[in-house]
Amino acid sequence: MFNTGTPKLALKSNRSKLLLLMGLLLLLVTFFFASLLMGYIKTDFSDLVNTYTDYTESIEHIVIKTSRMPRALIALFIGASISVTGLLMQTLTKNPMASPGLLGVNSGAAFFMVFAYSFMPNFTQNYLMLFSFLGAALAVLLVYTLAGGIRGSIQTFDLTLAGAAISAIFISLAQMVLYKDQKTMEEVLFWLTGSVEGRSMDALFKVIPIMLIGWIICFLLAKRLDLFSMGEEIAKGLGLNTELLKLQIIVLVVVLAGASVAVAGPIALVGLIIPHLTRFLVGSEFKWAIPYSIVLGAILLLSADVASRFIIYPKEIPVGAVTAILGTPFFITIARKAENR
């Protein structure tokens, strides 16, 4: 799709792609269990089993049930969703440097979250999430309009800078609120950097079905997305309703990325890097790219989350900080290779 100059491993046969996917799924399961078991409080596999079969109120059981399980699930679903939205963004803008954060999703959600937290203390966690989701959607709308999207083609450079401008605005607004309300800052700090811990299972169950539906719709659109990536004019000529598809992509991005940010805050770079990794492994065909992105994204975030527990042990850092720092060298390499405007 793009000539990014990245080398391609590009497995050829469907069979090898399927095999690798199975292998990755196994890896995913492994990391999932690692996430459940590793951390400050030492637990082992029997603790895990007992939590669900023979629950006592021991600290290991409590930690697993209320902290680690939601956390692992969130890392899994959000890692997956962000990666898929990254894939969609890069397809939409035809630019390998695109990511959901480019559209201002993160800053819009951040501002609304901070605002709600500070001014509407009655909001439950669910309402907070919903509200920040609205913020994400609004930001995307503004960025898209500002970059001239409504009028026609979007030049990615304009999109990047429009996104940066809108992000700057929302971040300033958020700072204003935080300045006034110090306490909010303390409590929201982790979320602001991107964090998968501290959420309830309840919140997650509201979000998981949405994400699953999102993934499925994405998968259903795979053929059309393939067509679209050949070039907008060509796709139109072949009968694809490109405007509708673009709209569908944006809605999917808002829903998946917005939901992810609402739950876990802005997590950096995952949405940018995973699509590249996916392209490297299986090429651009969407019927493979989507499941691979899902699995790889989940693996990445799960492993980053485990790492975040040990980097400044015994303190934890937000997983968003880990992805930002580890992802930056990748980002820079990709930026240096990408030759377009």
């Binding site: 440097m97 503004l142 500002l146 001239g148 030049q155 450079f157 304009d158 990047t160 800078l161 429009a162 940066a164 401008a165 700057a168 605005i169 300033s172 607004l173 700072q175 204003m176 935080l178 300045y179 110090q182 800052m185 303390e186 700090l189 982790f190 602001l192 950097t193 950096a268 770079l269 400044i312 303190k315 850092i317 937000p318 968003g320 900080a321 880990v322 930002a324 720092i325 930056t328 980002f331 820079i332 930026a335 240096r336 990408a338 377009n340 405007r341």
Partner: protein, 355 residues
């Protein structure tokens, strides 16, 4: 050529557009007015007339003490932070060839905060959360952080030359990493870090004094003069690279120098004032709207406009919710942000270059 003002003597020659010279003069007046306003407003209102008297007379009396030791240094810092940012933004927009560029996009602000937090982390006594050295040194660290970031961004973006696109992308990457490091430092530190970091990031000139002025003023002046000398280069940089080379300009060398100028100016401002936002973005915009894209007009005007914005924002910051002294960054953002959106929506075509 009625609209041009030309001065020649021997080999020396300068040209200036009359209209923009006029606009510049008017903005200087507005600037002086806002300075006087800033000196007269405060806990005790001192009339501007008296302020002027004090400035020229230097008499010792209660009022002159207020003006000279409290308000004047703060106003001057606000002024020069604003001028530095305004100028820095104008230069950067020329180098990057895009009017949406601002100093914080190439990582200056976020890396400055890393510098500031490193300072706090190193020099905070864990037992009582007090600083072990003078807070005076914080700007030094912030400056180092900011400036180092630009060098890093430039180096990483260099691949047989630097394109505006790569510069911005890598600037964003470095900003992201810097933000993450900042969070880690905050989380790792005592709770009080949160407040201090927050204050720095929003941007404040509270607590500045004559030392800060003595640091900032010469720094700004020197860079300002150097920039004026480079105005022609900047005009050429702003054109298509092929054309610039065709005109005989050393494009890469000039790009680097101009970036360093922009970075140095912004780093100075950020070191003293923290993450004051939008000034570097808006001041050049306003200048371009009032005149045109020729840098002979934009650079001086952008400088003055930047100064006005921060001085006025500071007045608002310390009087609007009196006796609270809010960070000035809130107002530069509060005024700047909506204004910016308005500007952009109004002239979307201005964002598209080329034929």
């Amino acid at each position: 050529m009625k609209s041009l003002f030309v001065a020649r003597k021997g080999r020396l020659s300068f040209i200036y557009e009359k209209r923009s010279a006029l606009i510049f003069a008017v903005s200087m007046l507005i600037c002086i007015f806002s300075i006087l306003l800033s000196l007269s407003i405060g806990q005790k209102y001192i009339s501007m007339f008296k302020v002027i008297q004090i400035l020229f007379d230097g008499s010792m009396g209660g009022d002159s003490l207020i003006v000279n030791t409290i308000r004047l240094p703060r106003t001057l810092v606000a002024l020069f932070v604003g001028t530095s940012l305004g100028l820095s933004g104008a230069i950067l927009q020329g180098v990057v060839k895009n009017p949406l560029a601002a100093p914080n996009i190439i990582g200056i602000t976020d890396s400055g905060s890393v510098g500031a937090l490193i300072f706090l982390t190193l020099f905070t006594d864990p037992k009582n959360n007090a600083l072990t050295t003078s807070i005076f040194y914080m700007p030094v660290f912030a400056f180092a952080g900011a400036f180092a970031a630009v060098l890093i961004v430039y180096l990483l973006a260099y691949k047989k030359g630097v394109t505006p696109y790569r510069l911005i992308m890598i600037g964003i990457a470095v900003s992201g990493a810097a933000k993450a490091i900042t969070s880690i430092l905050i989380i790792n530190g005592p709770v009080v870090f949160i407040k201090e970091a927050q204050l720095w990031i929003t941007g404040t000139i509270y607590g500045t004094n004559w030392t800060h002025v003595k640091l900032l003023l010469p720094w700004f002046l020197i860079l300002f003069i150097i920039t004026l000398i480079y105005t022609r280069e900047l005009n050429v940089q702003n054109l298509d690279d092929c054309i610039s080379v065709g005109l005989g300009s050393s494009v890469e060398k000039n790009r680097f120098l101009l970036m360093i100028l922009s970075a140095a100016l912004a780093s100075g401002a950020v070191a003293v004032g923290g993450g004051i936002s939008f000034v570097g973005l808006i001041a050049p915009h306003i200048s371009r709207k009032l005149t045109n894209s020729s840098f002979g007009n934009v650079l001086p005007l952008s400088t003055v406009v930047g100064g006005i914005i921060v001085v006025i924002s500071d007045i608002a910051a310390r009087t609007l919710l009196f006796p609270l002294d809010l960070p000035v960054g809130i107002f530069t953002a509060g005024i700047g942000a909506p204004f910016f959106v308005y500007l952009l929506l109004k002239s979307q075509r201005a964002l598209r270059r080329g034929f």
